[in-house]
Amino acid sequence: MSAILSITDVSKTFHNETSSTHVLSRLNLTVNEGDFVTVIGPSGCGKSTLLKLIAGLDTDYTGAVNIEGKKVERPSQDKGFIFQEHRLFPWLNVEGNIAADLPLRKPEVRKRVDELIRLVKLEGFEKAYPRQLSGGMSQRVAIARALLRNPKVLLLDEPFGALDAFTRAHLQDALLDIWQTNRTTMVLVTHDIDEAVFLSNRVIVMDARPGRIKAVIPVDLPYPRRRTGTAFQDIRTHLLRSLEHHESEEPSYTI
């Protein structure tokens, strides 16, 4: 498999009047086509910042972020982005939100939108407005909106963080389904260890102050994975240990 995303020597510093914070320090990472990579780490480790750099939403950094060998300079449709909140347009209904700026009148757009509505299992809700949807449904609409643009990489920034445990598990299944059907490369940022092990074939463990990659843990379990399986628990423990290693250096009262 060929590398679709490569991050070379990326560093980033946030400046304000009085101080500057080193957010990312000399990051190196390669993601292959069709990979499902999760990035996990304590809050403040710069994992969301990293995702913004890949998306081109933030270009103030040193080093290089390349997608298919080309430098990322601005946001584009081949880098789909799912935010923590669904960020749907409240004045558009479900199909309108998925199409966004594309005309639903066009048969090819119509056809793709209908396919995606089936893929994210929202049949019957085509005409519903965001205010009538639950959090999980809204996030599925957001995923469909990104997928309509046939992204080379789908970047997800803690997409299920605000959802309850049941909805989250359901959406994780849905996302795996989509990944297996479409083979879209996924990079998902999370703070949920189970989510990381359940979804990805590679977990990037990050450390804070300054943000850097501490460990890369491959997950070679076959899909669908059982959260209760021994192999699953072994990897989970392994992952937890690599995270704890950092936390032991911190005073016990920080969360």
Binding site: L57, P75, S76, F83, F89, L92, A100
Partner: protein, 277 residues
């Protein structure tokens, strides 16, 4: 057994309630809104019928009603009303659309705001009545000065509210527009305009009422036709009935135009998830 009874029971309990609530609901605001005007009219009629107030000075609802019929029959009222409505409409369209466009530009660009906004805000505080003599000197007593005066009044409410509306658009949605690669035009049409629509519609309502207000100022100060002229003319002959006809027709047409925008609001802002009282 128990569950089916409960289910059937709750079905029945819910359904008629929905029906009962839905029908009268559309009429209820109208019924409630009419109570106060009806009371005032009744009191007024009683007072003038019993001779407690002078009919020449205060007229009475019945006299005004008859005057309406007379003026309509002679064609005087439709003639003046048509002229007034055309003036207000032209003024509103000219000033309102300029206000909307300027508000959009100023809202979209910080630089444009810094250049334009201070001047507009300064002009906004000048009372319209103070400018009226200038307009008459520059543009005469003709239609031009009236339409321009009305458009000046209609400009500011739409400008201020559109500007505010654009600045209230969720910044996070602009990020989405960037990720989805909206063009500048699409961003305006698909994001900025719909998102600021609640404020724009409010601006339209305020602009409409200001247009109506400025129309009266323009017509009272010098005109040979229009409802304002009709009032002015009737005043010099102490025809109180006609004065009241002019006043009430302003109120009626004003309320009517406001209602049209409110219906528009209800249609276009159905997506809004806000407190409805």
């Amino acid at each position: 057994m128990t569950t089916t009874t409960i289910a059937a029971h709750s079905e029945q309990a819910v359904r008629p309630q929905v029906h009962k609530r839905k029908r009268p609901r559309s009429w209820r605001p109208l019924r409630r809104g009419i109570i106060i005007p009806a009371l005032i009219i009744a009191l007024w009629q009683t007072l003038s019928s019993t001779g407690s107030i002078s009919e020449t000075l205060y007229s009475s609802p019945w006299n005004i009603f008859n005057e309406y019929i007379d003026l309509t029959r002679t064609g005087e009222l439709p003639h003046h009303l048509r002229i007034s409505v055309v003036r207000a409409a032209f003024g509103f369209l000219l000033g309102g659309s300029l206000g909307l466009l300027t508000g959009l530009f100023v809202g979209m660009s910080k630089r444009f705001e810094e250049h334009v906004n201070p001047t507009v805000q300064m002009l906004r505080t000048v009372p319209l009545l103070a400018i009226t003599p200038l307009f008459i000197m520059w543009f005469g007593f003709g239609e031009l000065s009236k339409v321009l005066l009305i458009s000046l009044g209609a400009f500011f409410p739409l400008y201020v509210n559109t500007f505010l509306g654009v600045r209230n658009v969720d910044r996070k949605l602009f990020e989405v527009a960037r990720v989805l690669e909206f063009s500048q035009l699409r961003q305006l049409a698909r994001l900025v305009l719909p998102a600021s629509l609640p404020n724009v519609l409010l601006g339209i309502r305020l602009s409409l009422s200001t247009s109506w207000l400025c129309l009266v100022v323009a017509e009272l100060l010098g005109a040979e036709s229009g409802v304002g002229y009709m009032i002015q003319d009737a005043r010099s002959f102490v025809q109180t009935d006609v004065v009241f006809v002019g006043i009430t027709i302003f109120a009626i047409v004003g309320k009517l135009s406001d209602s049209i925008v409110r219906v528009l609001e209800q249609r276009l802002l159905r997506w809004q998830d806000s407190f409805k009282g």
